[in-house]
Amino acid sequence: MDFSLTKEQVLFQQMIKDFAEREVKPLAAEVDEQERFPIETVEKMAKIGIMGIPIPKQYGGAGGNNVMYSMAVEELSAVCATTGVIVSAHTSLCAAPIMENGTEAQKQKYLPKLASGEWIGAFGLTEPNAGTDAAGQQTTAVEEGDNYIINGSKIFITNAEYAHVYVIFAMTDKSKGTRGITAFIIEKGTPGFSIGKKEKKMGIRGSATCELIFENVVLPKENMLGKLNKGFGIAMKTLDGGRIGIAAQALGIAQGAINETVRYVKERKQFGRPISGFQNTQFQLADMNTKTEASRMLVRKAANKKDQKVPYSVDAAMCKLYAAETAMEVTNKAVQLHGGYGYTREYPVERMMRDAKITEIYEGTSEVQRMVISANMLK
């Protein structure tokens, strides 16, 4: 058993930490405050290959692995959770299902553009009445000659406003429930496809979360991803991978909050000494760090299992559950240790606390993760 990073991963960590510190951190407060999608950061990430980390070289990607990808989301999220989720949704939720389920023609068409970051990817499963109950899809795809006609809408779609390609799900056979859902690839600008309302969110405020609207969208059959009526399985498998990304995001938020707090408690003086001298501070920090490191081990284990191509669904659920709840707890403590200053927008920990909350909700709530974990125990 070896817990150490490979040589390549050590080199990668050096680069991504440096990139996050110099290119991403300076924009984090502004991106949050103005609810602005950091398109300039995406361009910089694209240039050095961050938008295509686990995509094979033959499709224009970096040919890296999921451990490296999770490290990227972690380090980006440690300074800006918005930037972390942009990469996570693009990679795990759009490029990955095309890579795993696409035809060779679909892979050739979409992966090089996604890997180079020329195109941004998004994923549309959630609907107003189909959240955790993903089987309640009301978006429909009706066969008509060589095409499918798509009608309906999706909500809470990360990257929506800036994406060029979307993996979406629609009912092709309502009578079959989950066995009647099919996945499709749809490009921006397809007639009848439009972006709706932009959400005003508590956290990750720069990530351009919007509604997708389909009004008699004509999609050729070659845009079907995977087989007819096999969409539910594709969605669930995609979310398994996505959970590693979100867990890495949560891990990064927690680590970022620790980094800020360690600096603050050494500087902040009360009762004539830095507050780092008080045992309460020390014990809080010890707990924050231990849980964050435990999250990291779970994330890396799940990512490594995915790299080894062994089943990892339960590991993904566990790392997402634990890292998300840890992020919430750690950011809460970070604000507490900052006192009144921590509650202001002068310090980044209040943003981190708002950003952390979503990790307990999207790509499967903590309750869903508990269902996945316990179902595997009791089967």
Binding site: L11, Q14, M15, I48, G49, I50, A62, M68
Partner: protein
Amino acid sequence: MKIVVCIKQVPDTTEIKIDPKTGTLIRDGVPSIMNPDDKSGLEMALQLKDEKGAHVTVITMGPPQADLILREAYAMGVDRAIHLTDRKFAGADTLATSHALAGALRKIDFDLLITGRQAIDGDTAQVGPQIAEHLDLPQVSYLEDLKFDGEKTFTMKRHIEEGYQMLEVEAPCVVTVLSSANNPRYMNVGGIVDAYQKEVEVWGFNEIEVDEKNLGLKGSPTSVHKAFARGLKPAGELYEVETDEAVGIIIKKLKEKFILN
């Protein structure tokens, strides 16, 4: 065009602390990085490669762990990496180092040799110019910018105390580059994935062309007399006065220190 860039692994001096008791550097746990001036020199070479096409080789002299900066250079886009390492090179000062590097460079064909101006651990700025002397090549130090006409002439912008000097120099030549010349690129992710698949050529004394007496401790005339931590500056004097009076005080103080007559 063939370019060689000399790079050095140094402790990240922004992370270094001084032991208050002994006055020596605490090197434990301090990360090692590619020297910033050298990295800008490498970026200059890679920009020439992007614009005009060039074959870029990096070379470093150092202990086995210096391999890391050669992998980093591969991930940034260089074509060849050479690691000079041998017990015979150990204990070298700038002169012995420049002899070893020159010995290796005699074995490599190049049109342009780039070094950083100086390393942040020693701040001597000697190795680049010394290499040029050993190889009997023209040298231009403190470079801010360099353009290539595509044939054999470089136009160079050199930083001098009062401003800039513009020069035209023919290949082959040696230049030393300032870190202010550019913003070095990040390693490319795909390049990182491949960095350890590529070969780093390891050269020792037997692979280079140099007189052994010029190497290592024997070839190093520099001896360190004493190392000490610079004392803290005393607190300044603070005057809260109107501008006119402030000017008077400043002039008086400068005269006291014989900075003004």
